[in-house]
Subunit: 195 residues, 2 copies
DNA sequence: CGCCCACTAGATAGAACGATCTAGTGCCGA
DNA sequence: TCGGCACTAGATCGTTCTATCTAGTGGGCG
């Protein structure tokens, strides 16, 4: 067990720490301790240091979270219901983890937006991949491409914003309300109503 | 000029740094330098250290931002138009500051949500005051109290989420799209349509 | 005038930060 | 069997962090 892929353990632990405490709040020392690794290992696998580790973690977390979203949203009877399920599922995870686990890249995105171009670009790429991925689900449900992109942006902004309020208040109220309205907006688009 | 209220200068500078770089990203040294103050001054006015300074800055910024929102939203011909104006105004400010100035407390809120109870409570109080304040504008426009609160939550989550995407992408697209849909939701409530 | 206290000034402590370095371990193929 | 290389181990460097400390300065009030 101690030998099992050190690089993988570092990535997993860092992803968890970033999600909970952000980039500046996650020290290399804590990463090394939690991953049962050493400084040598970190700089062997990530010669670019903390920044390179950060970029790889963001990419990885971004892809995993998109896959989760696609599974839940695409797995429901219709996309509007799927969107609703995703918000409620996120609320449940947040509550069960003591309001620790929300979006895996949001905190980092805000922290580095104006201080680290490489990391900022990584977070921008992740959000764009989410917009494209969720938008594809909407077009597959019969919504026009341009409108599907707009809807995807609205749904993603809603959940990101709801995470902020819910984590601060330690309440799932924001996620529940935002989920209701996001689902309604998607339903209206399915019904062909213009915004 | 150097004598003019040192405490005020510290608060102003810290508010600006928090907004742009977050709590962990804003060092006391940088605060002291930018405010043309000294460590002694900071610990004289804020004996509780960085945490106390943070709490006061959050309260202050939260109140100022609410007043700005109330002015813009309440100053339009109707609240739906006001909401739209606020999103577009925020987009303009963001663009003009090189994607630096978004929400004054959002970054800090995410950073401290799981690490500092006093600061977390301060951010929660600010968000709650926003919900109450914006909700009051909606009830004044003829919307029922319960629905007004839900609408306020949705509008605030929308703008917070849009700030995340817009700062990361260095584009105002998210703010514009979220603003359009947020205004539409408020308009629907004014028209008496259920979500 | 002269004292007092709010405030300034900046050196310094002590811990944590990211990063680098030299040794050393152990597996794998020739 | 042995050489090489991927990887581990952890001491250490210089910096930065928050916080504290002593020594002052200066303006208003008795």
């Amino acid at each position: 067990m101690a030998k099992a892929d050190t690089k993988e353990r570092i990535l997993e632990v860092t992803a968890e720490l970033f999600q909970r405490y952000g980039y500046n709040g996650s020290g290399l020392k804590q990463i090394v301790t939690n991953a049962n690794a050493t400084f040598g290992s970190v700089y062997h696998f990530f010669p670019g240091g903390k920044q390179q580790l950060g970029v790889e973690v963001l990419r990885r977390s971004g892809q995993m979270y998109l896959e989760l979203a696609e599974t839940i949203v695409g797995g429901a009877s219709d996309v509007a219901t799927g969107v609703r399920h995703f918000f409620l599922g996120a609320a449940e995870v947040l509550r069960q983890t003591g309001y620790l686990d929300a979006c895996p890249i949001e905190t980092v995105a805000l922290e580095v937006a104006s201080t680290n171009e490489a990391l900022r670009q990584a977070t921008a790429d992740v959000f764009e991949s989410w917009i494209t991925g969720i938008g594809a689900l909407f077009t597959a449900a019969g919504i026009g491409e341009e409108k599907a992109r707009d809807l995807a942006i609205v749904v993603i902004t809603a959940i990101e914003g709801a995470f902020v309020l819910s984590r601060a208040a330690r309440t799932t109220e924001a996620l529940e309300r935002a989920g209701t309205y996001a689902a309604a907006i998607v339903q209206a688009a399915l019904d062909g109503i213009e915004p």
